[in-house]
Amino acid sequence: DVKVTQSSRYLVKRTGEKVFLECVQDMDHENMFWYRQDPGLGLRLIYFSYDVKMKEKGDIPEGYSVSREKKERFSLILESASTNQTSMYLCASSSSGFSTDTQYFGPGTRLTVL
């Protein structure tokens, strides 16, 4: 069974704080992804990585950065949290770089920025 875990299910932070969201997968997947899900907007891709130390911007990278130092771990960083970053954050992984691979999701982190 593929397992993707996220460091926290619920997180409350204050405006201006630096926030780290951690994601770990145990299937030796090359690709990892960070999405945010908001009502009426679906899943929007923030960043993805197809190899260690590699990263690519998704559709909404502004205000976020990522780190992939090890293959199994992909971190999302909010440098200075703002209230409009209150959202459900979802991490996913998949096994190879091209076309047909299914992404497996973690349980999500519900982040509230006050």
Partner: protein
């Protein structure tokens, strides 16, 4: 511009009947399509997929149909059960992409007992 569209935000169906969830796409370079199911406060779980070389894929109560000429796919659930109540996301994979998926905005299915 939305490349994957789920035009119905919600759908309500009686238990035992068929649920049909629809998805349209605009990019003819998509070559693989997936459906995910999501319960509140959980991550999406993979449900079923279809390659662009096929027009139908079936897995138990779930069948996905692909009409490439119309750039349309649909998910049929027969018979629908109350436990199927969730948000369903359609996703598409670009050919020669890097593994990223393009998601629709989702359709919330409610199956009433």
């Amino acid at each position: 511009d939305q490349q994957v569209k789920q035009n119905s935000p919600s759908l309500s169906v009686q238990e035992g009947r068929i649920s049909i969830l629809n998805c349209d796409y605009t990019n003819s370079m998509f070559d693989y399509f997936l459906w995910y199911k999501k319960y509140p406060a959980e991550g999406p779980t993979f449900l079923i997929s279809i390659s662009s070389i096929k027009d139908k894929n079936e897995d138990g109560r779930f069948t996905v149909f692909l009409n490439k000429s119309a750039k349309h796919l649909s998910l049929h659930i027969v018979p629908s059960q109350p436990g199927d109540s969730a948000v369903y996301f359609c996703a598409a994979s670009p050919s020669k992409g890097k593994g990223n998926l393009i998601f629709g905005k989702g359709t919330k299915l409610s199956v009433k007992p």
